[in-house]
């Protein structure tokens, strides 16, 4: 009698990790290719639009970087929260909250004699922080599921943005379209000549460095990492775990809110309903694939920027951009599967009337 047994395997190197992730992305893309072929679509053409054009043309390349900016910021937001096992899946809502605050500063505050763009970013950070602090405090004090509250926050923030675009903030120069007026010029982040790429990229990369320094170079960050690994050890060591949890949620919301402000100030220059193609959700993938490591987030965000840019190309070709979601789901699942395979070394064992090893999985 033979049966499959699983040994637990501990520890992976960074190289092994990167290979695992690259491999699983490859598997997911292959699955997506077959998926397209099976649905009778020109898979090669679709993949060219999805993967080659964003990297191969200069327009595509810059557009990819533009898309990567909000992904970096929201990805960092999710990464820091997940590090402490706070499942903030409300980066999307916090991004919208930030965008609303930025719009308010751009359009409805008197001129302070300062450039508006930095003020917009500050306001956006604050709004995102508040939006995330609510679930954070509810979680720390009452134990309310932060998953559901942050998620509900997404719907609410998006609908509030709808309300403002269709109603009070609807522009006078938009020919009846539901969006705000264009922001004044001093509300725009400087862009690189001839492209849509703006200094938000530096903001994102700086945030990634800063977050890394915060987590790995400060005592507070150390406490957060300990609590994320083992809450009981953190309590044993005398850290204030609940307070830290609220602070982490606020930090997470700040980053996601900043993403909203940066996107409006750097790219759209006005508030539009449903302007985000799901940055806050894609951020979950970005963070998870970056292994919740701030320095890896910009790299992964770039990869997903390719996917989002390609998704727009697909629409031009008449293929549903939902393919991007399909691929994202497949990528996440295949990374999970690869992790499981890496954690559990499988082996066939000949059975001799006695159980042979630990962790036997039944057939």
């Amino acid at each position: 009698m033979r049966r499959l047994i699983f040994h637990r395997r501990h520890g992976r190197s960074a190289l092994h990790d990167s290979l695992t992730i690259a491999g699983s992305i490859g598997v997911a893309l292959l699955a997506g290719y077959l998926f397209l072929e099976a649905s009778g679509i020109d898979a090669a053409g679709a993949y060219r639009a999805l993967l080659v054009d964003p990297l191969g043309t200069s327009y595509g390349f810059f557009e990819t970087l533009v898309k990567a900016i909000p992904l970096i910021l929201t990805g960092l937001a999710v990464a820091v929260a997940f590090r402490m096992r706070l499942w903030n899946i409300g980066a999307e809502g916090q991004l919208y909250a930030g965008a609303l605050a930025a719009t308010y500063v751009a359009l409805f505050t008197p001129d302070f004699g300062l450039p508006r763009a930095p003020l917009m970013l500050v306001a956006a950070c604050a709004a995102g922080a508040v939006w995330a602090a609510v679930p954070g405090v509810l979680r720390a004090t009452l134990g309310v599921s932060e998953i559901l509250v942050t998620l509900m926050g997404n719907y609410v923030a998006i609908l509030v943005a709808d309300h403002l675009c269709y109603g009070p903030w609807k522009g006078k120069t938009t020919f009846g379209f539901p969006m705000s007026d264009r922001f004044p010029d001093d509300a725009a982040l400087p862009a690189f000549a001839g492209t849509r790429l703006h200094v938000g990229l530096f903001v994102g990369v700086l945030c990634s460095l800063a977050l890394w320094a915060l987590l790995w170079r400060t005592k507070w960050g150390f406490q957060v990492r300990v609590a994320g690994s083992n809450v009981r050890a953190a309590e044993y060591a005398g850290y204030r775990v609940k307070r830290d949890a609220v602070v982490v949620m606020i930090l997470s919301g700040t980053l996601a809110g900043m993403a909203g402000g940066v996107e409006l100030s750097g790219v759209l220059h006005r508030l539009q309903p449903r302007f985000s193609p799901g940055y806050g959700y894609t951020a979950i993938l970005v963070a998870w694939l970056a292994r919740l490591h701030p320095l890896a987030v910009p790299l992964v965000a770039f990869l997903f920027g390719v996917l989002l840019t390609g998704g727009e190309q697909l629409q031009v070709m008449g293929i549903s951009s939902s393919l991007v979601d399909v691929l994202q789901g497949l990528i996440l699942l295949s990374v999970l599967a690869a992790d499981a395979a890496a954690n559990w070394r499988m082996a066939w064992v000949v059975h001799q009337g006695s159980a042979l090893s630990e962790g036997v999985v039944h057939d």
């Binding site: 300990v226 009981r232 060591a237 005398g238 006695s354």
Partner: protein
């Protein structure tokens, strides 16, 4: 009234012929520790078989293998002559082997009757409450348990839970019932009741395995006694042929080891710790410390003995500032520390080596160096103000690995990859990096191999001689007697005895741990 839970006549035929269970060459390792090392054991129908041994001797592991909840590395199990392989407790139950675990394996939100039905595939799909209750009541009555099967397990006392656990096993018509340290938490009256139950069971033809480390009970009750030490069978004989002194010798190992009991002369330093009438509430409103007063002096090792769950962990948490006492006061070096945070205790020089090493003492996803820094974060050596110096953390890990002889000593290695003994070296080294004013060591030697044990013992002695007040919580007589200058015995959250190692014996300590009752 004589009723059986299984076709007794058939069984009694087998009785005279063969053992019900034959274990051969059972081997099981947890990491570097060999919990069971080629163990052979036979169980005969209608006998009470006692498994005796000190903590960590491998009794529970062996029986968990027989009950199907652990797998073995090597060996064979034969039930009624047929070679079997248990992949799960369900398999063992099917073969008629059931176990009452030390930590109750009942579903506490369900009623006793429901617990008796869970997992039983012979039950009809639709639960008819009345039938279930009738069956449960009938069985309870047969064994003389005054147990209402409609009550939820969460509401039951410890003794009632045990009865419920026995009932759920008998409901599956087991022929071998294993009881893991069943008397540890019972009153004398309850213990007497349990013994009566066990006798009823063997009269009906079942066999009972009774795990214990208490001589008096074993001699009083068992038909046969097997002694385990360090994962091996060192003695197995009918009870009538066993002398108490011999059994102790078998349990404790060579008598030569006892020369170590001569503890260093107690250095009467200042009083470091003073507990006055401390009370602490446990989970579920159970009081886990009642009116505990004690003193520990500088340079003294105070042993705390007691059976599992006698209040040791509550005491450790109170002493480390992790749990605020509900009454009473704690003085450290004369300062009232009652109600202060764990951080304050640590700053005052109180250090704690927790019993749950992996679950509490370390963050396993972090490196060795980071875990070395875990409880030293406030130390200026690790960085100014809020900053943390990676280099300093790394050096701290490297230094610790060198001074404690941790192998492999790579400070970047994840703690998840380290063995239990290495983790203990890390924790002990970390907590004693600077000679603490007071050290609480909770089961510091549990499950360690010889080398790591020697390391920790030596460290405790060295600390004491340089003036640290040490509270050593242990269940192991050997350790307590050889290391401490004074031993207090906890029983149900109270201190019931105080002994000096040179003036007591393991037997006496064992008796003290059973609580205030008459000596046999």
């Amino acid at each position: 009234m004589r009723q059986s839970f299984h076709p007794a006549p058939q069984l009694s035929r087998e009785v005279t012929l063969d053992p019900v269970v034959e274990l051969r060459g059972i081997t099981k390792s947890f990491g570097p520790v060999k919990a069971n090392d080629h163990i052979d054991l036979d169980l005969w129908p209608g006998e009470i078989h006692a498994l005796l041994g000190a903590n960590g001797a491998g009794k529970s592991t062996l029986m968990s293998i027989l009950a199907g909840s652990y797998s073995m590395d090597a060996g064979t199990i034969r039930v009624r002559g047929r070679s079997t392989c248990f992949r799960s407790p369900a398999d063992a139950l099917k073969a008629g082997i059931g176990m009452v675990y030390q930590h109750s394996m009942l579903l506490s939100r369900m009623t006793v009757a429901e617990n008796m039905a869970v997992g039983d595939r012979s039950m009809p799909r639709i639960v008819r409450r009345r039938e279930l209750l009738a069956r449960a009541s009938a069985m309870a009555e047969r064994l003389g348990f005054p147990l209402d099967p409609q009550r939820r397990v969460a509401e039951l006392s410890v003794a009632e839970r045990q009865q419920a656990d026995i009932l759920r096993n008998l409901a599956r018509e087991v022929v071998v019932l294993i009881l893991d340290e069943p008397t540890a938490v019972l009153t004398p009256q309850e213990t007497a009741g349990l013994f009566a139950t066990m006798r009823t069971l063997i009269r009906d033809g079942a066999s009972v395995v009774f795990i214990s480390h208490r001589l008096d009970e074993v001699l009083h009750l068992a038909d046969r006694i097997t002694v385990l030490r360090q994962g091996r069978v060192v003695h197995s004989a009918p009870a009538v042929a066993c002398a108490p002194g011999d059994l102790v010798a078998h349990m404790m190992g060579s008598p030569a080891a006892r020369s170590e009991y001569s503890s260093p002369a107690p250095a009467p330093g200042r009083v470091v710790l003073k507990l006055q009438h401390v009370q602490a509430d446990g989970l579920h409103g159970v009081q886990s410390l009642t009116d505990v007063s004690l003193e520990v002096r500088a340079g003294e090792i105070l042993g705390v003995a007691g059976v599992a769950g006698a209040g040791q962990s509550a005491l450790a948490e109170v002493l480390a500032g992790l749990r605020a006492p509900s009454a009473g006061s704690i003085l450290v070096d004369g300062d009232d520390m009652t109600g202060m945070s764990a951080h304050r205790f640590r700053m005052r020089g109180v250090r704690y080596v927790p019993g749950d090493r992996r679950g509490r003492g370390v963050a396993q996803d972090l490196s060795l160096a980071e875990n070395a820094a875990l409880t030293w974060l406030h130390h200026p050596r690790l960085g100014r103000g809020h900053w943390l110096s990676r280099g300093a953390v790394w050096r701290m890990g490297a230094d610790l690995a060198r001074s404690e002889g941790i192998e492999p000593g790579d400070p970047g290695r994840l703690v998840r990859l380290l063995s239990g003994g290495t983790i203990q070296k890390l924790i002990v080294g970390r907590e004693t990096l600077q000679c603490p004013v007071m050290l609480i060591a909770e089961y510091p030697l549990h499950g360690l191999d010889v080398q790591a044990t020697g390391f920790v013992e030596a460290r405790l002695r060295a600390l004491a001689s340089s003036g640290t007040a040490i509270v050593l919580i242990s269940e192991d007589f050997d350790q307590l007697l050889s290391l401490s200058q004074r031993i207090v015995v906890l029983f149900r959250g109270r201190i019931v005895a105080q002994r000096r190692p040179e003036a007591t014996t393991p037997l006496q300590l064992g008796l003290d741990m059973l609580g205030p009752r008459s000596t046999p």
